[in-house]
Amino acid sequence: MAKGGDLQAWFIEYQDLDRTDGRVVIMPEGFEKLCDALEFNLEEIEPMVLLWKLNGVELATIEFEGWESGMRAMNVKDIKGLKAAILSTVQEFENDPVLFKTFYRKVFDYLRPEQQRSVSAEDAVAVLPVVTGNSWVFEKFVKYLQANSDSIKVISRDQWQSLLELSKALSPDLSNYSNEDAWPAMFDGFVDWAKNTKPEAAK
C-alpha cells in the first residue's frame, strides 16, 4: 500500500525498473499490477480510464510527470481514492457526453502505432466494445469490421471520431442515414450492410 502523500514512492511500486533507456515509466506489467490492486478488470473500461486520467503516453504506459499531475488533478493520495476517482469518472460518462468524447478520442491515440496515422481494424474490434459497451451502433460496427476483415484493414481518426457522432445520430431503423450527408465514405458501406443483415432492426 502506498504511503499517503508520497506520489513518487507510490509510483516506484509499479515502475519498470529494468529499463536501460533511462525512461521513467510504468510499463505493461506494472500497469497490470496496478489494475490488480485497484481490482479493475483488464477487459473492461476502467483500466483505459485509469490510463487516461494518469495522462498515459501509450497503451499501458505511464510516465511520472503524467502520474503526478494526474493524481494531483484528481486529488488522490492512495489506492482507495484512486479507485473511487476512476469509478466516479466512469459514472460521469453517463451524464457528460463531452467528457466521454474527450476520453473516447484519446483512446484512438493509445491504439495508434506511433508512426502511423490510423488504427488497425483488429485493434478497433478489440477495444471498441470495451470502451463503448452498451451502444448498439458500436456493436454493429464491430460486427461489420469483423465481417469485412479482408477489405477493411484500418480505421482513420476521422472515422473513429465520426463513429461516436453516428452512434448518437443514427436511428434504430437506420432510416435517417443518407449517402449525401457528411459522413465518412466508409459509413455508406456500413449502413448498407447493416440494412441487409438485420431486418428485424428495420421497422
Partner: protein, 803 residues
C-alpha cells in the same frame, strides 16, 4: 356722315363692333373650313388675324362711374377676359355647327364611300385647323394662356378644333366607320382587291384624336385603343375563328398549318401598312392565339410523326408557328419531344449495331460501327435543327442533351466500370483506326473522289463532333495517348498532318492542358530522329555492330510507358549497339538514365534454315520479331550459319529451363513465345509440337513459307487485357488526384464550406469527367486524414481548410 357721339351712343358701339368683327371672322373661318385646300391670299389672312386682335383689344366697355377701360390696360383683366371668352365661345359654337353639318352629310354614305368621304374631310380639316389656330394666335397667347395658368379647363384653338371634330362628328359616325373598315378588311382577307390606304387614314385619325386630356402635349392612345383597336382585334379574332374551323373541317391538320402560315404572313405584311406600330404586338398575339393557340395540342402532336418521316418543310413550318406562341407555350413542348426522340433514335441505332456479333468481335470493328451509328443519328438531327429549326438555341440544347445521353449510355456502353465498353474508349479506338496505317477500309468509307487527306480530315472532324459529348474525357485521353504512343513508336501513323490535325481539334475543344502532352510526344520523336542521325554520323567509323539500329528516346513524364516487367538478358550482338548508343547519349545529354523498353521494341532478322530450298535457301526468310522473341531465337544461332557445319544438323536443342536461364525472361513469356514458334512451325518441340516447360526445342530446319517476310510479333490478347486494366487503374488514380486537387482549390478559396456545397462545387469544378459523390467523399476523407481539412467541432457537416 360724321356722327356726334353722345354717351348713350358710346354704350352701343362696342356691341355692334363685336358683332361686326365677328361676322367678318366667321365668313373667313367658313371659307377656310370648306376650302382649306385651295389656299388663301395673304391679305385675307392678315385681315382675319387683325380682326381677332381687334376683337380682343380695342373693344371698349364702360364701367360704373362713367369710366371706361381698354383691355390693353394691364389692370383690366376682367374686361379683357370678357371679350376673350366671347370670341372663344363664338368660334366654338360656329365650328360646332359646321361639324354637325358634316356629320349629317356623312349619313348619305356607307362602306368604302364613307371611308373615302371621311378621309377627304379629315385631310381638309387638318389644314383648316392649323390655319385657324394661327389666325387666332392672339387669343392663344393671351386669354387662353391666362386661363390655363389659372388652372381652368381651356384648350388652345388647334386642340379645340380636334375636340369639336371628335365630339360633333367622329362620335356620331364612328360605328359606321368601323363597320366600313371591317367590311373592307374582310374583303381583303377573302382575297378581293380593296384600298388599304383608306383604312390607314381612318386609323391615323383615330390616333390623332387622343384623349380628353389637354394638358399633356403628347397624344394619348385612348380613342384609338378603345374605339378602334379593341373592336378591330375582336373582329379579326372572330373572322379567323370561323375561318380556322372551316379549314380544319375541310382538310388535315397539315393543310391547316400551311394555310395558317400563309395567312399569318399576309397579316404581318399588311399590319405594318395600316396599324399603329404600338398595336402590332397585341394584334399579332391575338392572331396567334386564335390561329395557333387554339390548336396547340393538335399541332404539337404532329411533331413526332414529322420527325419520324423527316419532313423538313413541315417541321420548319410547325416550328415557326409554335415559336409565335413563345418559349413556354410554344417551344418548350417541342424541346422535350425533340430531346426524347433523338435520344431514342440514338439508342436504337446503337442497339442495332451491338447486335451484330461477328462485326463486334474486334475492338476496331466494334468502335467503327459504334461511332458511325452515332454520327448517322447526329448528322440527321443536326441537319433538321439547321434546316427546319434555324439553329434555334433551345432546340440546339435539346439535341446536345439527347446526344450526351445516348452517346455515353447505350446498348454498348453501360455505366458499369467495364472500361472496355466505355464510349470514350471506343471513340479513341475509332480514332486509332483512322490514323493508323493499314486501315484502308476505314478511310475508304469517305466520299468518293475526295483525296484521302481530305477524307481523313473530314472523318476526324466527325470524331471530334462525337468527342464533345463524352462524359469521360479523361478515359478518352488515357486511351488516346496509349494508341498514339503505339502509333509513334511503331511508325504506324498514316499521316503526320492527320496526327497534327487531330491534336489541334482536341485542343480547340478541351484546351491546351490536355493536348500539350501529345505535342511533347510528337517532338520527342522528331528529336529522336535527329539524334539517331547524329549517332550514325559520329560512329561512322567506330561502330561496334553491323546492322541497322534505330532508337527513340522518350521523356518518361509524357509517355504512358513503364519499364518492362520482366528481366531480359540481351543477346550479345544487340548489347553492343545498346552500349554504344548509351555512350553517345550520355555524351550528348548528360547523366540521365535510359530505361530500355524492350517490350515495345522490335527487330527484323533474316533466318537461314538449313533445309530451305529455292530462293529461301540463298536469301533466307525475313522475320519481324519482338525483342523477347529475338532473344530466344538468337540462342539457336550459336556458331551457326552457312558454312559452319550447321547444314548437317538442325542446330542446338535447348530445354525450356535452359532458354529461361539464358534469356532471364519470365517463364510465362518464354512459354508463350515458344508456343507461338511451334505453331508457326519455326520451331519443333519434342512433345508433339506443343510447348511445355518439360519440352525440348529445336529449330525447324525444313521451314517453308510462301511469303518471304513473316511477322511473328503480334499483340497478345493477354497483353491487351493487361494494358486495359493498367489504364483503368491509371484513370482511377488520376481521378482521385483530380478530385483531391479540386477540393483543395475550392477550400483554399472558401476557407470553410458545408458538405453539400463542397460536393456541388467539386462536381462543377471538374470538367474532364463526372465525379461520383462516393469518390468525392473518399477524397474528403483522405484530405481530412492528411491534414488538409478538418470538420468543424460544432457543425459536423462544415469543413474547414487547414492552411
Amino acid at each position: 356722315m360724321a356722327t356726334t357721339r353722345s354717351m348713350s351712343n358710346r354704350e352701343q358701339e362696342p356691341l355692334s363692333d363685336a358683332d361686326r368683327i365677328w361676322s367678318e371672322l366667321s365668313v373667313g373661318v367658313d371659307a377656310i373650313l370648306t376650302h382649306a385646300e385651295e389656299g388663301f391670299e395673304q391679305s385675307l389672312y392678315m385681315r382675319l388675324y387683325t380682326g381677332v386682335y381687334n376683337f380682343c383689344t380695342s373693344l371698349k366697355s364702360s364701367l360704373p362711374g362713367g369710366q371706361y377701360f381698354t383691355p390693353g390696360d394691364a389692370s383690366s383683366t376682367v374686361h379683357g377676359s370678357m371679350y376673350g371668352r366671347q370670341l372663344y365661345t363664338r368660334l366654338n359654337d360656329h365650328v360646332s355647327q359646321f361639324m354637325a353639318d358634316v356629320a349629317a352629310k356623312s349619313r348619305e354614305y356607307s362602306g368604302d364611300e364613307l371611308l373615302a368621304f371621311y378621309n377627304k374631310e379629315w385631310i381638309k380639316y387638318g389644314d383648316a385647323a392649323k390655319m385657324i389656330h394661327h389666325i387666332f394666335d392672339y387669343l392663344n397667347r393671351h386669354w387662353i394662356l391666362r386661363e390655363q395658368d389659372d388652372g381652368n379647363n381651356v384648350c388652345d384653338i388647334n386642340t379645340l378644333m380636334f375636340r369639336l371634330w371628335r365630339n360633333k362628328f367622329f362620335m356620331e359616325v364612328r360605328n359606321s366607320l368601323l363597320e366600313s373598315v371591317f367590311s373592307l378588311m374582310k374583303r381583303i382577307r377573302d382575297g378581293q382587291v380593296a384600298d388599304l390606304n383608306l383604312v390607314k387614314s381612318v386609323v391615323d385619325s383615330f390616333v390623332s384624336l387622343g384623349s380628353d386630356d389637354m394638358v399633356s402635349g403628347s397624344k394619348k392612345m385612348e380613342v384609338y385603343d378603345s374605339y378602334f383597336l379593341k373592336p378591330f382585334i375582336e373582329g379579326s379574332r372572330q373572322y379567323y375563328q370561323a375561318e380556322s374551323e372551316r379549314v380544319l373541317k375541310e382538310g388535315s391538320i397539315r393543310n391547316y398549318m400551311i394555310w395558317v402560315f400563309e395567312r399569318l404572313k399576309e397579316e404581318d405584311d399588311r399590319a405594318e401598312m395600316y396599324l399603329h406600330e404600338s398595336s402590332l404586338r397585341e394584334f399579332g398575339e391575338a392572331l396567334n392565339k386564335v390561329l395557333i393557340g387554339k390548336q396547340r395540342a393538335n399541332l404539337i402532336s404532329e411533331f413526332k410523326p414529322m420527325l419520324v418521316a423527316q419532313e423538313k418543310e413541315d417541321l420548319g413550318r410547325l416550328y415557326e408557328l409554335l415559336k409565335r406562341l413563345g418559349e413556354v407555350m410554344g417551344l418548350e413542348p417541342l424541346r422535350t419531344i425533340f430531346c426524347d426522340f433523338v435520344q431514342e433514335a440514338g439508342q436504337d441505332a446503337v442497339k442495332k449495331v451491338s447486335g451484330n456479333q461477328e462485326a463486334t468481335e474486334s475492338m476496331a470493328n466494334k468502335s467503327r460501327l459504334f461511332v458511325q451509328a452515332l454520327l448517322s443519328v447526329h448528322e440527321l438531327y443536326a441537319g433538321i435543327l439547321r434546316d427546319s429549326f434555324k439553329d434555334d438555341p433551345g432546340l440546339s440544347k435539346s439535341l446536345d442533351r439527347a446526344c450526351q445521353g445516348f452517346i455515353n449510355e447505350n446498348a454498348m456502353c453501360k455505366k458499369a466500370e467495364d472500361t472496355e465498353a466505355d464510349a470514350a474508349r471506343l471513340l479513341a479506338t475509332y480514332c486509332d483506326t483512322l490514323l493508323r496505317k493499314g486501315n484502308a477500309n476505314a478511310r475508304a468509307a469517305g466520299e468518293a473522289g475526295a483525296s484521302s487527306e481530305d477524307n481523313l480530315e473530314k472523318q476526324l472532324a466527325q470524331a471530334i463532333c462525337v468527342y464533345r459529348y463524352l462524359s469521360n474525357f479523361d478515359v478518352f485521353h488515357a486511351s488516346y495517348v496509349r494508341f498514339f504512343a503505339r502509333r509513334l513508336v511503331n511508325e504506324q501513323s498514316v499521316s503526320t498532318h492527320g496526327e497534327e490535325t487531330m491534336i489541334s481539334l482536341l485542343k480547340e475543344v478541351s484546351g491546351v492542358d490536355v493536348t500539350s502532352r501529345l505535342s511533347r510526344m510528337f517532338s520527342d520523336i522528331t528529336v529522336s530522329k535527329d539524334k539517331i542521325d547524329q549517332f550514325k554520323e559520329s560512329t561512322q567509323n567506330t561502330r561496334t555492330f553491323d546492322y541497322e539500329f534505330d532508337m527513340k528516346v522518350l521523356n518518361t513524364a509524357s509517355w504512358p510507358f513503364k519499364a518492362p516487367e520482366t528481366k531480359l538478358k540481351l543477346p550479345a550482338e544487340l548489347e553492343r549497339a545498346v552500349d554504344q548508343y548509351t555512350e553517345f547519349f550520355h555524351k550528348d545529354r548528360g547523366g540521365r538514365r535510359l530505361n530500355w523498353l524492350w517490350q515495345y521494341s522490335k527487330a527484323e532478322i533474316r533466318m537461314f534454315f538449313p533445309k530451305a530450298t529455292g530462293p529461301a535457301a540463298k536469301a533466307g526468310y525475313m522475320f519481324q520479331v519482338s525483342t523477347f522473341q529475338l532473344a530466344i531465337l538468337m540462342l539457336f544461332n550459336q556458331d551457326s550459319g552457312p558454312g559452319t557445319g550447321y547444314e548437317s544438323a538442325d542446330g542446338p536443342t535447348l530445354t525450356f529451363d535452359q532458354i529461361v536461364a539464358a534469356t532471364e525472361l519470365d517463364k510465362d513469356i518464354v512459354l508463350d513465345e515458344l508456343a507461338l514458334f511451334c505453331k508457326a512451325r519455326v520451331m519443333n518441340s519434342n512433345t508433339a509440337n506443343k510447348a511445355t516447360e518439360k519440352s525440348q526445342y529445336t529449330l525447324n530446319a525444313g521451314f517453308k513459307s510462301k511469303q518471304m517476310r513473316i511477322n511473328l510479333s503480334r499483340a497478345k490478347k493477354s497483353d491487351q487485357k493487361k494494358e486495359a486494366k493498367d489504364m483503368q487503374r491509371a484513370v482511377a488514380v488520376d481521378r482521385s488526384a483530380s478530385i483531391q486537387a479540386a477540393i483543395v482549390r475550392i477550400m483554399k478559396a472558401r476557407k470553410q464550406l458545408p458538405h453539400r456545397e463542397l460536393i456541388q462545387a467539386t462536381i462543377e469544378n471538374i470538367k474532364l469527367f463526372h465525379p461520383q459523390v462516393t469518390d468525392i467523399k473518399q477524397s474528403i476523407d483522405k484530405l481530412i486524414d492528411t491534414g488538409y481539412l478538418e470538420r468543424d467541432e460544432n457543425t459536423r457537416d462544415l469543413y474547414k481548410y487547414l492552411a
